[in-house]
């Protein structure tokens, strides 16, 4: 199974003693904690949080669409749109004000 760039990005490079397997929805599988792996909080689109304690657990959750940062679910285009709109409106208002001041002198 190929390790995606996203897994490396969120969970780090695979430790040499770990074999990467996709567990899927197997309810009997238990992830073994790795003392060397710093606990990491992952989130899904609904805002649920899970703490993962090993590289394999992290990789499986990432593979299932979880992320380590809720920013991923934020619509960045929407923020950009309103920021530019705000700046443009402010620019137009300031320009009008500047012209008004200039004319009134």
């Amino acid at each position: 199974m190929e390790i995606s760039q996203k897994i490396i990005e969120y969970c780090g490079i695979k430790p040499s003693n770990v074999e990467f397997v996709i567990v899927g929805n197997d309810p009997n599988f238990v992830f073994i904690n790795d003392a060397k792996f710093p606990t990491l909080a992952l989130y899904d689109i609904e805002g649920n949080v899970i703490n993962v304690n090993s590289w394999l657990e992290c990789a499986n959750y990432i593979n299932g669409g979880w992320v380590n940062n809720l920013d991923v679910f934020i619509n960045q285009e929407k923020i950009l749109f309103f920021t530019i709109l705000l700046l443009a409106t402010a620019g137009v208002v300031l320009n009008k004000y500047y012209k008004y001041k200039l004319n009134s002198k």
């Binding site: 760039q5 990005e9 920013d71 960045q76 285009e77 923020i79 950009l80 749109f81 530019i84 443009a88």
Partner: protein, 673 residues
Amino acid sequence: MIETKNSIKIFLLILIILLPWGISNLQDDLNAKYINSSTVGYYQTNTCDISFVETLLKNGFNQNVTYVFDHYSSIKCFGKINGVDQVGDSFKIAVGTNILINFLIQSFFWLLLTSFIRKGGKKEFKNKMFSTLSLIILFLLHLFGENTFYQIGVRNFDLTTSLSNFFILSLILNFIIVIYFIWILFEYRLSNLILYLPFIFLLSSTFNYMNYNFLLLVLSFFGIQNLIETDFSKKYSLTYLSFCLFWLLQQNSNSYLFDVDKLRGFSNTSLNIPSVLFWMLSFYLLIHGIIYITKNSLQNIEHKVIAKNFLITGSLITFFGFISAYSSIFNFFSYYYFGLNKRAMSQISSISGNTWRGLAPSAESIGEFFAYSIFIFLFYVYKKQIKMTRLYAIFLLINIFGVIRANNVAAILSLIILFILFIATQKIKTNIRSILIFIIIIFLLVLGFFFSAREISISPLVSYEVASKSLILEGLKYSNLFEGENDRNKNVSRYLEGENDLGTIFLYSGNNEKISTSLKFVSNTFTQNINIPFVPNGIAALSLFALSINRSEKWGIFLSKYNPNTSEFLFGTGPLELNSYFYGHNSGNVEGLVLPHSSILDILLFFGFFGLLLFTFFVLKILINNFNTDNPYWYLLLFLLINWIKSDSILYIAPLILFVFTLIQNIKITNKD
């Protein structure tokens, strides 16, 4: 006051260059590290956290790194390191960019540069709202038509019509803001704009990871203004409209994505109605835009200034080309801020000991530009209208160096011939007929000289017999004939050289369908039984000519692929539309982007035989009727026409604008085009 304004502008320019790549989260404890094998993992784990500027500061002298663009980045990751890959001993650093941010940053950078142009009289643009709306519709047509191109490389690219689609809303908002600034900036600078024409060769202005060009946007705006304001010629517009109708009605859409490569920003990637509509309208508006600028600068045009600017631009192109080759950092920034279609060359040495294109996408077109610059400058020096100072002498040498490095032999030779012609016409009173005779004699001498040095890829022996068939031989070689047989090329050459039997090739099973209609026409013309004494066969003459100018292989490839039906041959497939040519007949017979290598053939492809006929008639009429030994543009029009026979310059926006500008300078302009 002006100095303060300029200082603010320079400060803003520096800000636009540095700020987007320097934003980083200062609260985290992640710092940039020197890139080597041991830190690759660090960068791979901490993507989108470390800014590009931070990484540059740590790796300024790291010779093993090259910086590449990660076009698929999110807005948040813009300007940050999104990945590091080790390839042998070197490292590729991916820097995040995003189409929405690119559009704003690059537009503002170019608009700021434009703001340095001296102000002239005010020009009130008309129907600005209508112009803006038309440009937005045109832009949306482009996005819809070429959505395959954008879907591959643009994150969250979405064209659904919904008020919650903030991707398209942001893009339209950015577009409106940029057009607004175009209004403000150009209404006072339009009359002086023409003086800075040469700089379009330095600032190609193609948006990063877009098949769209800032120059095209500006000129389309002016084009609309020209249509609104002036009493333009209906004759040419109606002719173009009839061609447009044909292109739209005859459209055979396909799903192929044409890899535009170095033509990015000025070539159609997809073959469908919206994209064809976009490019044919844009092409029309582009021409009108150039006419509009020229008409509005009639009072302010100073050809000496233009000539000086040509020389300065040529020097800057060479200078920045060399810096880009030396420094991977500058190579990154030059691509982004000059809006290059293709990354600048990363080496000083020429490709296979042949050409060095520097910043330009094509060595041929930049060679023509250098030669053009040298001629126009020396013309005014000879006329004693420009004083040759030490500084200009250095610039001139840099331009000469540029043309030599571009290794465009045709441009160098035609420049020399042009000079001889120019000096001769200044000393002796002459007419157009004697000039044409002079050119033909020189032309034949040059061809004869180069003919002896050429070889045909398919045949080791270059006899007159073989050379006269060189186009057919090369065309057949690339026609995928004799499938499944060993040594297929030898089969082709054996039939033509030894047995002189073209018919056998056609009879061979499967061959007939693979030979294009154009190649069949050429072969039939070559083998016809009509033999007029002392008059060479047209195809034989063309083959000899092609071989002499080192174009037999390229034109042979063209013949193997160009397979039009009657109507396509007569009217073409539409401007800047190469998709049907590349993915039509014998697709995949050559690797990579092998262009026709002749603007004449490009015109034939785009506008068909009628279009080519009209173009030839129109241009030659201008050239002959406006013969003027005191007009440098007359010589330069001749120069461009000669060079266009063997170069694809029409496919690039800057050379095309230069050609139209040169053409217009040979016409006495009135308000009616």
